[in-house]
Amino acid sequence: NAGVTQTPKFRILKIGQSMTLQCAQDMNHNYMYWYRQDPGMGLKLIYYSVGAGITDKGEVPNGYNVSRSTTEDFPLRLELAAPSQTSVYFCASKGQVGGADTQYFGPGTRLTVL
């Protein structure tokens, strides 16, 4: 299993540009999440999904959109990028291991908006 994969690893955007961060998992997990992590801070939830076709907002959804057309993929769309969106973005999925819910994180995408 590849686990949770994210592309790209790094990206620099200009203010006002748009982009899509890709996330895929091969563990057949229903739950998937997008978080952002600002320097020296904990993670903040942007959007999450409990299954294909179902998405919901987290703590900081403004400026982002998501879709979940398949179980495997959960892309995050940034429209009209702003410097405040400079951050490291983590995608995660959740499944059960030995009866315990366990989140698995991708390696992250480091985004800079100039």
Binding site: M41, G42, L45, E59, T102, F105, P107, G108
Partner: protein, 104 residues
């Protein structure tokens, strides 16, 4: 929303020492996880522990749900334990983390 506070914010240890990290939360929770973020940024799940006690090698965790706190114990610390430790509740809220540095 629920608030999550971790202490201490920073911890420096000599190799071989023991440590206790604390996570306080402001409301009842359905799940609580502890994560380790290594110096390269990778996040690894350590424990899923909404209540009770679990152990995994040199690490153990205890959550007292009625008193709204969780503790992560690291015994005989090693330099590879360095990084940031986060607790997260309900998959939604992360604490600000405890940065652990283990010196050889």
């Amino acid at each position: 929303g629920i608030q999550v506070e971790q202490s201490p914010p920073d911890l420096i240890l000599q190799e071989g020492a023991n440590s206790t990290l604390r996570c306080n939360f402001s409301d009842s929770v359905n799940n609580l996880q502890w994560f380790h973020q290594n110096p390269w940024g990778q996040l690894i799940n350590l424990f899923y522990i909404p209540s009770g006690t679990k152990q995994n090698g040199r690490l153990s965790a205890t959550t007292v749900a009625t008193e709204r706190y969780s503790l992560l114990y690291i015994s005989s610390s090693q330099t590879t334990d360095s990084g940031v430790y986060f607790c997260a509740v309900n998959d939604m809220r992360f604490g600000a983390g405890t940065r652990l540095t283990v010196k050889p």
